[in-house]
Symmetry: D2
Subunit: 376 residues, 4 copies
C-alpha cells in the first residue's frame, strides 16, 4: 500500500482541526494509503515543535517552503490566513504535491484562476475545505435531489448568518479587508454558494445587493482608534440555476442569535427539504402526499455516519465532518475517489461570488460565466 | 351613539368570516357605534336568505346594487371574487358609503388607482382586508421596530408559501388568471408585501424573478382537458426599503408541507425577530446580548389579545384576527381610529406588486414609484 | 324546531367566553334548535345589564335563582367561582333544566356525587366545560387511538404546567384554598386527567406525590401580611389504565416559561403521538416505519375545524374550542349528540383526582374505584 | 511526566469509541500524563491485530488476562458485554490497575457491591462510562443548578426512550436477558438515573411500574422460533430526591420516532431548564422574569467545547463526549481530577435502579438506601 506523508501548514483553529481529522481518519476507516503525519510547519519554531509532538507529526519546520520540499511530504495541507493560500498552493503544485487548501481558494479571482491552471498542469489531486458538504445527511440530500426524489427542483433558498460581528464594538480584523477575502459574502456566503452548487448545480445568472452597516470599527478590541470598513456586512442575491431552479441567497454576520446558521430549503415538485447547520444531524422533509414535515435524524444507514457510530441519534460533530473530508481526499489521492471539491470547483465558487459582487455594484443581473479575473 | 348598518356582499368563506367578525366584535369590545347587521347580498336568493337568518342579518338582497342603495346600510363589506371588487367598491363610494373590501384591492393597477381617487373624493373610511396585520403579536413587533428596540433595521426576509397548487393535477381556477389577480405573487405574496410595508415601511426599488412551473393544468378537477397557465407559481425578489433596510421576498403555492406559511425574519442592530403565521400566537426574538432566541407567546399584555382572553397561551385564531380588523374599522368609522390599511395603502401594495412584475419581466431593478397603471 | 333559551350565570372571563360561544355557534353551524340568549345573571345589576346588552341577552337578573326559575330559560350555564357550582347546578336540576357547568364540577367529591345523582334523577342533559377535548385535532387523536392506528397503547405521559404562581410574591387567592378546589392538581391537573380519560379510558390505580413549595404567600398583592398555603403547587403521579396502558402525570403552576402547557405524548405499538395546548392546532406523529416525527396542522378535513375555516393552517383559537363545546352541548340537548362530558364523567374525573390526593397523602398505590366521598 | 499505558478490552462499537477517544484526547488537550496505547485485547487474534494496527495500539492479546498482566498497561478499559465487566474489572483491580469500565457496572447489585469494595481496597482510580455527563452543556447545567441560578429545585422530569425494539419482530438478544442487565430500565434508564444524580443529587425513595409489552420475540432475526421475554420494555417511576425535589422517570425502547431521547426538564424557583440528547449541543432555558424559553447553543465559553472548537454553533458529536470522559479519567489518574463517576457512584446508580425494580414488583414506595444486593 502506498505511503502518504502529510505536511500540514498552520497550527491555528484549522490546523488543529486538520490534525484531529488526519489522526481520526485511520481509526474510522480502512484507508487505501499508508498514512504518515510527516511534517508540520509553523513560523514559530517552539509552537511548531509543541504541536508536532502533541498531534503526532514526525517533524516540525519553521519555514513552510521547507515543508513543501520535504521528500517525506506527499500532500500539503494549507490552513494559514487566506492571503497565504496562493503562494503556498502554487509552491506545492510546483513541487508536484497534492494540495488540500482551506477555503477560500484565494483572495482574488485572478489568483484562483492561476491556481486552477497550475493544478491542471501539475495533474495532482487538489481539494478545498468546504467541509459542510461532507455531512452524511447532506450527502443524502444530494442523492435525493440527484435521484429525483424531490422531482423537478423549483427553488433553493439559502441563508448563512452568524452574529460574531453584530456588536459595533467588535474590532477590525483581517476579515474586514477585501485584500484578505473579508466580508460576509466571502467569509460565510462562499460556504453557502458551494453548497448550492453541490446540491443543485451551476448558477447561470445573479442579481444582488450588499450593504456595510457598520462603516467603522475599533482598530483593535477596546481601542478608541477607528478604522473605516468597506467590506459587506450583509449581502443578498437572486440566483438562476442552469437547470431552471431559482434561488434566494443571503449572508450576514450581524444577525443576533445565530452562530452557524448555514441553512437552506429546497422546494421540488415532489417534496420540500430543509437543513440548518446549527442542527447538523437533522433534515426536515415533506414529501408530496404527506401531511407535514418529518424530522429525519442522521443514522448509520448513511455510510459516513456509520464510520463513527452504529446508532442513530448519537450525532456527529463538526470535527467529524472534517474527518470525512479528509477521507474523501485520501480516496482521491489513492485514485478511488469521485469528483470532489477541487481547485476547478473552488474556482467556480469564487467566480459565482465575484458575479454577486459585480451584480451588487452595478445593480444589474450578471451572467456568471462572463465574470473574469478583473471582476473583483 | 351613532347607528352603523353593515351591508355584506358575498356568502363564501370570506363572507362568513366577515359575518362572524361583525357578530363577535360587540361581545369582545365596547364599541363606539351602535352596530346593526343590516343587509346581506348574494346572487342566489335562497342562499342569501338562509345566510342572513343564520348570521343575524335583517335583510337579504339578490342584487348587490340594492344593498348599496339600502338606506339602512352605512358600510359596505365586499367579499366577492377579485374582479368584482372594482365595480362594487366604486358603486359604494359613489353612494357615499364606507367600504371594507377584501384584498386584493383590484385586478389591475389601473383599477386600484381609480378606486383610490374615488375614495379620496368620497371622503369616506375605506379599509382592505390585510387581516394578518391585526394580529396583536404583529402589532407588538411593529411597536418594537418603530420604537427602536431592534435598533437600525438591516433586513427583512419574508416568505409566503403554501402547497395548495403543488399537485400538478390541481385544476385551473380563477386564481390562475391574470385578469382575476391570480398567481402566487398576487394571491399570497401581496399579504407579505403589505406586512413588509406595515412593519418596515416604503420599498423604493425591487429586482425579481418569476416562474411558471406547471404550464398547464386540468380545466377542471379530473378533466382530461388542459388549460395553459401563464401566471406565476413562484416569485422571488430583492427589496430596498426607503429607510435603507434590504430584503428578500418569495412567494410560492407549490411548496409541499406549508399551509399558511407567511413568515419573516427581521434583523436589526439590536436584535433579530421572526414570525410564522402557521404559529400565529408566537414571536421568536433574540435581543443583542442574549444567548439565543426566546419564544414569546401572545398574552393579555397585548390589548388585542386581552379582548378575547385574560390568560396567555390560550391563543387567538384566524377569525379573531378578522374581528380585530373589524374593530379597527369601526373605530375609524367612529373617527377614533388611526391610519389603517385604506385604499391608499392598498394601492401602494398593488404598486409594489406591479413593480415586482415589471422587474421580473424586464430583468432589471425597478424604482417602485415609477410604476404606473400600464405597468401590469 | 325546538326553541332553546340560554340562561348564563356569571360575567367574568368564563362568562364572556360562554357568551361569545353561544353567539358564534349559530353562525358556524346549522343548529338543531332555535337558540335564544334568554337571560344573564350577575349579582351586580349594573354589570348584568351592561353585559346583557353587549352580548345580546334579552334579560338580566341579579339573583341567579330568578334566572333558573325564568321560564324562558331551558339551559343553565354556570361560570361562577367553583364553590357556587354545587348550589346552582342543584337548583337548576331541581327545576328540570339542562346544565352546562364550568369545571371543576364541585369543590368536594361529596358534592360531585350528589350532583351526579341529581342529574340522573332529573334526566336532563348535563355538560362540564372540559373544553380542550373539543379541539378538532384532539378528536382526530382520539379517533386514531380508538381506531387502532397507534396499535396497543403503551403509555400516556402528560403534563399540565403554567407559571402564573411561580413568583413567590403572587398573592393568596381562592385558588389556594382546598375548600374552593384550589391547587395545581385541581385547577390544572383535572383538565389533564379528563383528557387522559377521554383519549385512553378509565384509570384503575394511581400512586402520587405532592408538594407545597411556597408555604406562605402575601394575603393580597403587595401586602406584607402572609397567609399560610396548604394546597399543592406541584403534584405528580403514576397511572395504570384499565386497558393496560401506563402513564405519568404531573401538574405545576410554578414552572417558569409555560403559559398553558397541557401536553401529552402517547406511545403505542404502531406509533407515537404528541400534543401541546400551547400550539393547539398541531399534532406531532411518528407512525411505525416512518423515519421521524411529522408535524400535522389542523385543517378542514377535521369537521370541527371546517366549521370555522376552509383552509388548513389558519388556526382555531381557544374561544372556538368553547364554541365547539357549545355545539356538542346543543346537539345533545336536541337528542342528536353522543356521549359527552356529563356529570357522570366529571364525577369520574373528580374521583380520579381524589385518588391521587389519597395516594399522595398515604404514600401508596390507590385503586380509583375505592375512593368515595370522604376521600378528600 | 508519568507514562500511562492504556489496555483496551473489546473491539466492538464501544471498543472503537474508546480507541477514537484515546487517540483524540492528546490532540485536544495538554495531558498530565504521557499517554501510550499499549495493548488491545480481542478473543479473535486476527481482529485484535487488525484493530491494533488501525487504531495505533502497540500490542494485541487474544486473552484479556494477558492484557491485564501486561506491565506496559497501567489502565484497563473494559468495553465487553455486560456480564464480563465483573470478572475483568475484578482482575484488573487485583492487579492494582486503574479501571475504566463501560456502563452498567455489573449485571447484579451483588457484583456491583463487590466491585466497589474491591476498588476501595485497591485504592486505584475507577471510572464508569456514563459519557452523557461529560457534555459541556450538561456541565453548565450542573453549575447553574449547584450555583443556585435555578433557585430551589422543584422537579426533575426525565425520559430516555428509543425505538430500536419497537418492532415486535426485533429479535431476542442479550439485551432481553436479566442476567445480562437487559431491559429498558437497565439499558437506557440507568443513563438517566446517573444524570439525575449528577444534576440533582441523591434519590431517597421511589415508586415505580414496569411492563413487558412484547412477551415473546423471534429467537433470531427472521426466525420462526420464539423466545419468551421477561424484562421490561417500559418502566416509569416517581422519584423523591434528598434535597426535596420530586421527579418523574420513564424509560422505553418501544417509542417510535426516538433514537436517543435522553431528555429532562428541571423546574426551579428561579427558572426552568430542559435538554434532549438528540440535540446534544443545546439547552432550553427560561429564567424567572423572562418571557419564554431561550435556546442556548454550546460554544467555546464552555471549557470542554473550547477544546474542540473556538466557534459556537459548530457542535460536538457523541465521540467527543467520549473524549471528554477520557480526559476527565486521565486527569483523575494524574491526581488532578475531581470526584467523578467512579465505582462508588456507579454502585449508587445500580442501587437506585434496583430500588425501582423492587418498587415496581412490590407495588410500594421503596427507600433506596434499604435496597441491598439481594434486591434484584
Amino acid at each position: 500500500m502506498r505511503e502518504l506523508g502529510i505536511g500540514l501548514i498552520g497550527t491555528g483553529f484549522m490546523g488543529r482541526a486538520h490534525a484531529l481529522a488526519f489522526r481520526n481518519v485511520s481509526a474510522a476507516f480502512e484507508l487505501p494509503v499508508n498514512l504518515r503525519l510527516a511534517a508540520l510547519a509553523d513560523a514559530d519554531p517552539q509552537r511548531g515543535a509543541e504541536c508536532a509532538r502533541a498531534w503526532g507529526f514526525t517533524t516540525a519546520h519553521s519555514d513552510w517552503q521547507r515543508l513543501i520540499d520535504d521528500p517525506a511530504v506527499h500532500l500539503v495541507a494549507i490552513t494559514t490566513p487566506n492571503h497565504l493560500h496562493f503562494p503556498m498552493a502554487m509552491a506545492a503544485l510546483a513541487a508536484g504535491k497534492a494540495v488540500y487548501c482551506e477555503k477560500p481558494l484565494a483572495v482574488s479571482l485572478e489568483q484562483a484562476e492561476h491556481m486552477h491552471r497550475a493544478a491542471q498542469a501539475a495533474g495532482v489531486v487538489t481539494r478545498v475545505g468546504y467541509n459542510y458538504q461532507h455531512n452524511p445527511i447532506i450527502e443524502r440530500a444530494r442523492q435525493m435531489i440527484r435521484g429525483g426524489e424531490l422531482g423537478q427542483i423549483i427553488s433553493f433558498d439559502g441563508e448563512f448568518c452568524e452574529d460574531f460581528m453584530a456588536d459595533p464594538a467588535a474590532p477590525w480584523s483581517w476579515r474586514c479587508e477585501p485584500s484578505h477575502a473579508g466580508g460576509a459574502l466571502a467569509d460565510l456566503g462562499s460556504h453557502l454558494l458551494a453548497m448550492a452548487r453541490f446540491l443543485i448545480g451551476d448558477v447561470q445568472a445573479v442579481c444582488a445587493d450588499s450593504q456595510t452597516v457598520h462603516g467603522q470599527r475599533p482598530a483593535a478590541a477596546g481601542s478608541s482608534e477607528r478604522k473605516a470598513i468597506v467590506i459587506d456586512d450583509h449581502t443578498q442575491a437572486l440566483l438562476r440555476f442552469a437547470n431552471g431552479a431559482r434561488g434566494t441567497f443571503s449572508s450576514s454576520w450581524l444577525k443576533h442569535g445565530y452562530k452557524n446558521h448555514l441553512s437552506f430549503e429546497i422546494s421540488g415538485t415532489l417534496g420540500t427539504l430543509s437543513f440548518d447547520q446549527e442542527r447538523l444531524n437533522e433534515l426536515r422533509l415533506c414529501r408530496a402526499g404527506r401531511e407535514g414535515f418529518e424530522r429525519i435524524l442522521a443514522g448509520p444507514t448513511l455510510p459516513g455516519y456509520a464510520a463513527f457510530s452504529p446508532a442513530p441519534g448519537h450525532q456527529l460533530g463538526y470535527n467529524e465532518l472534517k474527518t470525512l473530508e479528509v477521507h474523501e481526499l485520501l480516496m482521491a489521492v489513492a485514485g478511488q475517489g469521485q469528483a470532489g471539491t477541487d481547485f476547478a470547483e473552488a474556482l467556480a465558487v469564487e467566480r459565482l461570488a465575484a458575479a454577486i459582487r459585480v451584480a451588487a455594484r452595478e445593480e444589474r443581473w450578471v451572467q456568471v460565466e462572463t465574470v473574469q479575473a478583473k471582476g473583483r
